[in-house]
């Protein structure tokens, strides 16, 4: 299982749909995607993780890096995730306090705080 990435624009938000496994091998692809979006002026990102089967600390590091990049432009990075096995990793690392985590892309797109 490799990593799949696709993007879609909804208003001023850019949805990044991620599928497969985010680990030390595939995380650089996600990092490149996020860096490219920010460089192209997309500062409000919604990362949809519903298709993610596996996430490790390398993936968390990339998401934190993405958050820092968008924040430098007063942007936002929201996550969409309902999978308990993935949410658990955010909880044990305390990152649930850092990322807004939504149950659907629609909810994340509508969020403004």
């Amino acid at each position: 299982m490799d990593l799949s990435l696709s993007t879609e624009t909804m208003g001023d938000r850019t949805i990044v749909r991620v599928g497969g496994e985010i680990d030390v091998y595939t995380a650089p692809k996600l990092r490149e995607q996020l860096v490219e979006l920010v460089n192209d002026g997309s500062f409000h990102l919604v990362v949809d993780m519903e298709g993610v089967d596996f996430l490790d600390s390398t993936g968390l590091g990339v998401l934190v890096g993405g958050l820092k990049r968008v924040r430098a432009h007063e942007g936002s990075l929201r996550l969409v995730c309902n999978q308990e096995r993935i949410l658990k990793i955010f909880r044990i690392t305390g990152l649930t306090k850092v990322f807004p985590i939504h149950t659907s892309v629609e909810e994340a797109v509508a969020a403004t705080d």
């Binding site: 030390v24 890096g65 990793i89």
Partner: protein, 144 residues
């Protein structure tokens, strides 16, 4: 010897293989199905850390994974050959505050392991280090 031993070149693409092998052996050893996700994640974190240490240290030796089935418990030991500083001390430039803003992945990996696994031993010395993680097993039910 260990029940299963795995050695792999310190390359990121092999970490997934280590995860799959470890989960398969853990399942056979009787580790609870509900815990297998944690085993997979923890061994992946330990291998990722070892691969990183070998790559930054220019070490060509393989990363070693020992999968050890014992009575009532299953252990995984991931060994690296990177010379470690005394625990608690960091080399110059290795501290927090990565200028690119990426999290310190080595520390985050250890945080994930210690958050997931109750029984963890981390050892480090001049000739390498290891992370040993242990889970309880339930004895296999005898098929009638």
């Amino acid at each position: 010897m260990a029940t299963v031993e795995l050695r792999f070149s310190a390359l990121p693409e092999h970490v997934r293989t280590a995860r799959l092998v470890a989960a398969a052996v853990a399942r056979r050893a009787g580790v609870d199905e509900a815990v297998l996700d944690e085993v997979r994640l923890a061994v992946g974190e330990a291998c990722t850390r070892a691969v990183g240490l070998h790559q930054t240290g220019g070490i060509s030796a393989p990363v070693k994974v020992l999968l050890i089935e014992e009575e009532k418990q299953f252990s995984i030991e991931v060994g690296d050959e990177a010379p470690h500083a005394v625990p608690g001390e960091r080399g110059p430039g290795a501290g927090p505050g990565d200028p690119d803003g990426e999290a310190d992945e080595d520390e985050m990996g250890l945080a994930v392991i210690s958050g997931l696994v109750d029984d963890v031993e981390v050892s480090a010395g001049e000739h390498g280090g290891s992370i040993k993680m242990t889970w309880p097993t339930t004895p296999p039910t005898i098929l009638a």
